[in-house]
Amino acid sequence: MKEFAESRLATGAGELWDLGIHAEFLDAVRDGSLPEDVFNRWLVQDYFFVRSFAAFASLTVAKTPRPGQSVLIAGLSALDQELDWFEAHARTRSLDLNCELHPACQRYGDFLIAAGYSEPFQVLLAIFYGVEVAYAVAWGGLEAQGPYAEFINRWTHADFQAYVRTILRLADQHPHPRQQARFNEVMRHEQDFWCMAWEG
């Protein structure tokens, strides 16, 4: 995890990096005190988020030259499986996947799709990295135990971290003056997203 915190984009983000990866929500997951309804609310919004992120990933794949595409295509395939997995959980937990998007989720999705169409691939790689690394580091600080062990386990897996590392290398190989500013925006959206789940 140290390599992620010490990466050029994370250090460049300053305090936004810390705000993007730490949240009261995660503290409550860690000590098992998070109420189930709060977790369920977050799960539904995260499902909506992943749908937008999959669309963003498709746009990034389309713009990125080979051989960089390979890891992104693998990521896209993993996102598709993630959506299946969310849908299965929604069924067992009787969650409504047709409910309204929370404004924080709407804004995050709009940001990704608008950038996906408008920005060059170098900038998209920084955004892609930002989304994935925030997830890997935020969940990576937790031990797989308690009522949410299955979820923690899923997002702290060594394969996931190796995948994020590959995207970091790709973003570093293709620098662009707007990478940092857009990475910072990802961290702001991450912070808002955690707050949304916690505050309702």
């Binding site: 709407q106 804004r107 999705g109 709009d110 940001f111 799709i113 608008a114 950038a115 169409y117 408008s118 925006e185 702001r188």
Partner: protein
Amino acid sequence: MTAGPLHVTLWRRNRALADGCLAHPFVRGLGDGSLDPEDFKHYVAQDAFFLRAYFSAYALAAVRVVERSSVVRRLHSLMRGVLDELKLHEGFAESLAIDLENIRPHRGARAYTDFLLRTAWTAEVGEIMAAMTPCMRLYAYLGQELAVGDLSQNPYQEWIETYSSEDFEALAAELESLLDLLAHNTRGVSFAYRYAIRCELDFFSASLTEGS
């Protein structure tokens, strides 16, 4: 309930939000001239950032209907209207020493342009019109509501006169007419219209709280 043109239905349905904008301290400050000039300066830069995205959204809408040349021509004339509005901003920028080339958008402006551009790139043309109409109708409404009494001592006279003008009302009505032509009263259209007015309200708030 939905009798009459679509633009009337949507405006009526969202009238409370429009009145929320009229009652907003930023707008009240424009109306009575008490708005802090620094807040206005900041707002002009953010609005210029917004208008560039708004212009792009018209262009992306025009691409969707490229085979309907009469509609494309009408969109082009609305795009000229945006360029004229940007000229007004350039005038403000010159007199207030605002750098329009290096604008860092506040979160209200970014959320609005992200929504607008996502819609413009991905939605069908009716939804794009629905996302774009509130901006024009709301500003015409605000301008006309504020243009009462003697404005000669109001430092924001030019702003109020621009948005209360017959020319601006004609542009707003033209966009509404395109909305009626190209959109149906679907969930997506209704959402886009409402969300855009919410973005307007948030934009005014961000202009006060996220000052330069």
